[in-house]
């Protein structure tokens, strides 16, 4: 018993020593800035993780090489000038989409690799698991594409998010639905069904949507939560069909969305409007696959950027060229755009801080006031509130047209620029079939 006590005390002392010792770094010039990239590169969320990785490699390339005509932070010139031209180096770790593994690797990145900033984990659920750990070490951390509002509502001192959260983005969809009748849209949308998966991201979307639906006068006629990784959704499709919603608000990942589409088609059910939020709607491979069958025509969803307008910017085109070097030729989707914007902001923060010390980085981060003209995404800028949420990150609503591309339909000024007439009602399965390319 006595031995056990001695071992326990020794373990506590050892862990305390490691813990206290970790953030202390030698002062002086640095030749490279270490950014921990903790990502889900394998496992359930690997398709997201690989996009984040390609985005990270793109930013590493932009920062460390000279792109004289590229109008993004640290595009021209090599390295980070505020740190004497120090290179930016990503220290990439794969957590296999597992929260426990993410926690272990986050600790390793901080104590063993001594990264200056931790970027990750890319999914809201696993990010919320590692947040307290990183906070205890006092290291700056960011997750730009994580959209759960709770991540910046816990009062963490060391966490920043440049991207919009779901409060902003889901609100965009409901604001659009509210204003649509005044802009020539349907006036008879009265009921809604919520169809979401069961993780933190989906459930945050569900709660926000339920709240906004009630406030917007929409009656919720069905509210179904499904397990991530579902192999069949036939009964769920039956229940939704029986509930007869005017609007279906669906938040599901690509694999489950594919199963659901087949089950909806088998049931012969198509609501007047299918609205969505991230998940499959943000996945470039799912979007590409819809082209053959017109499967997504008429789907509308929230996006952090008007991708049809942003892609016309010269900087977007150049960054996309660099991105394609790493993505095996795949174009940037909005997820990659959010990540690249965030990582370039981090590089800019290192540059302005002229230091890799956490306190100096936090000060520079909090003082951020980035103008929209140096971004590839059309946020109104980057400026943080007290919770470290970028208050200038915006949400837009896009709809997939018969050309299989996303078109901005809200806010109305951007919609006017895009010049796209929203599809309504959502096309029947027969119409999709007749217009499909195969």
């Amino acid at each position: 018993m006595r031995i056990l006590r001695v071992i326990a005390v020794a373990a506590v002392l050892f862990l305390t020593a490691v813990h206290l010792g970790a953030p202390v770094r030698a002062a002086g010039p640095v030749s490279e800035v270490l950014v921990g990239e903790l990502l889900p590169l394998t496992g359930n969320f690997a398709s997201l993780g690989q996009q984040y990785l390609w985005a990270g490699q793109t930013v590493e390339d932009i920062v460390n090489n000279d792109y004289p005509d590229l109008k993004v932070p640290l595009g021209p010139g090599k390295g980070i000038p505020g740190l004497g031209g120090a290179k930016m180096t990503l220290v990439v770790r794969d957590d296999q989409s597992r929260g426990d593994q993410a926690r272990t690797l986050a600790e390793q990145l901080i104590t063993v690799n001594k990264v200056h900033w931790l970027n990750g984990e890319g999914t809201s659920g696993n990010t919320s698991i590692i947040q307290p750990l990183v906070e205890s070490y006092g290291i700056p951390m960011a997750c730009h594409a994580c959209a759960s509002p709770t991540l910046t509502e816990k009062g963490f001192k060391w966490f920043w998010r440049t991207g919009p959260n779901d409060n902003t983005m889901v609100a965009s969809v409901f604001q659009f639905l509210k204003e649509w009748p005044a802009h020539g849209g349907p006036k008879d949308l009265k009921t809604i069904a919520l169809f979401t998966c069961d993780n933190l991201f989906c459930q945050d979307n569900r709660k926000i949507a339920a709240d906004l639906a009630e406030k917007g006068g929409l009656k919720i006629v069905a509210d179904l939560t499904t397990k991530t990784g579902a192999t069949t959704l036939a009964s769920e499709a039956q229940r939704l069909q029986a509930a007869k919603p005017d609007i279906l608000f669906s938040v599901q990942y690509p694999a489950e969305t594919t199963v659901f589409q087949a089950d909806l088609k088998r049931a012969g059910f198509m609501p007047k409007v299918i609205a969505t939020s991230n998940g499959a709607y943000s996945d470039q491979t799912w979007l590409n696959a819809q082209k053959a069958t017109a499967g997504a025509a008429g789907w509308l969803g929230r996006d952090p950027t008007a991708i049809d307008l942003a892609s016309k910017k010269p900087a977007w085109k150049k960054v996309n060229e660099i991105y394609k070097k790493y993505s095996r030729g795949q174009d940037m989707g909005e997820l990659a755009m959010r990540e690249i914007t965030g990582l370039l902001w981090m590089a800019d923060t290192f540059n302005r801080a002229k230091s890799v010390e956490p306190a100096a980085l936090a000060k520079a981060a909090n003082e951020t006031n980035m103008a929209p003209d140096v971004m590839i995404i059309d946020y109104k800028g980057i400026k943080f509130d007290n919770a470290h949420q970028n208050v200038l990150a915006t949400g837009v609503v896009t709809q997939i047209g018969w050309d299989d591309e996303k078109h901005t339909i809200w806010p109305w000024d951007l919609a006017a620029q895009a010049g796209f007439k929203p599809i309504f009602p959502s096309p029947s399965w027969q119409e999709r079939e007749s217009r499909s390319k195969k």
């Binding site: 394998t42 690997a46 398709s47 192999t231 009964s235 690509p254 594919t258 012969g268």
Partner: protein, 290 residues
């Protein structure tokens, strides 16, 4: 009532596909009593094979099923000879870790080769039939799932006859029950195990080829099915091909009916609750021999 009957019909159709996924495991785990956590990865390889042959050669999965089954049979034999034969006589944990290692090796190898993108088979016979239904009163039966289910039934019938009605099947069962006694009557156990691995791997790859018509093809696609396959084999009873089929149908119906009336997020919980319930009265499973 229509909702209930539709749910049962949907569940039976999915159950047939689950059965095809599980039957390979029923041979390797249920009959030969060897653990294989990489079972779902072989299914995923079948899916990728079907997608690859569809994209590169324009082959319909219903055609590519045959060469892929042969290739995956070879892969299964190879896995047994190079890996499982060596760990077979060791602790059960050695088998577990060996196949978990194989799971990660295969899955991550596919990630490295193909990335984690979702891929979809387009223009195959079954995808073109998507949306085509047979109707029985108010009940709709999807033609593509029905075709998939009929293939599954045909495979089951063939396998049942092979295992229960041929000398080869009896030799397999004999090896499983008493390896040393089997050797005394001239059966070569290692050959039997290799064939079992080949058959199991080929069958789950065929399941993957069919499922590729309905599901996204991606490196992690096998996981959800593997968990169900284990429950199905245990529920059906070790060593029983017929039991696997019945258990798979039961799992499909339980999932479907649960999702029709209760919170869908719990439908797999009800599958495992059914397993516990049946286990209380028949620990050997529905049709188990041991």
């Amino acid at each position: 009532m229509t909702l209930f009957l539709q749910a049962v019909a949907d569940g039976l159709q999915m159950g047939l596909l689950y059965a095809l996924v599980a039957v390979g495991l029923a041979i390797i785990w249920g009959l030969m009593e060897m653990i294989n956590f990489a079972h779902g990865e072989f299914m995923m390889l079948g899916m990728f094979g079907a997608w690859g042959l569809s994209v590169s050669l324009g082959w319909d999965p219903l055609i590519s099923m045959v060469p892929l089954a042969v290739i995956m049979y070879g892969a299964g034999v190879l896995v047994y000879r190079l890996l499982m034969r060596r760990v077979q006589r060791g602790e059960i944990f050695t088998q577990i870790f060996a196949t978990v290692g194989l799971l990660f090796f295969v899955q991550n190898g596919v990630v490295a080769l193909f990335t984690s993108d979702y891929r979809f088979i387009e223009g195959s016979l079954l995808t073109r039939l998507s949306g085509a239904n047979l109707t029985l009163g108010d009940i709709r039966i999807g033609v593509p799932l029905l075709v998939g289910g009929l293939i599954a039934l045909a495979v089951f019938l063939a396998l049942y006859l092979l295992i229960d009605r041929t000398d080869f099947g009896l030799a397999l069962q004999a090896t499983s029950e008493d390896r040393d006694a089997a050797m005394l009557v001239g059966i070569r156990p290692e050959r039997m195990y290799a064939v079992a691995w080949g058959l199991g791997t080929a069958l789950v790859a065929v399941a993957g080829v069919i499922l590729a018509n309905f599901f996204a093809v991606y490196p992690q696609a096998g996981l959800s099915f593997t968990v169900l396959a284990y429950a199905i084999v245990a529920l059906g009873g070790f060593g029983s091909i017929l039991g696997t089929l019945m258990a798979a149908l039961l799992v499909g119906v339980v999932q479907s009916v649960t999702a029709a009336y209760l919170a869908p997020a719990f439908k797999d919980a009800f599958v495992f609750a059914s397993y516990i319930l049946i286990g209380l009265f028949r620990p050997q499973g529905l049709f188990g021999r041991f």
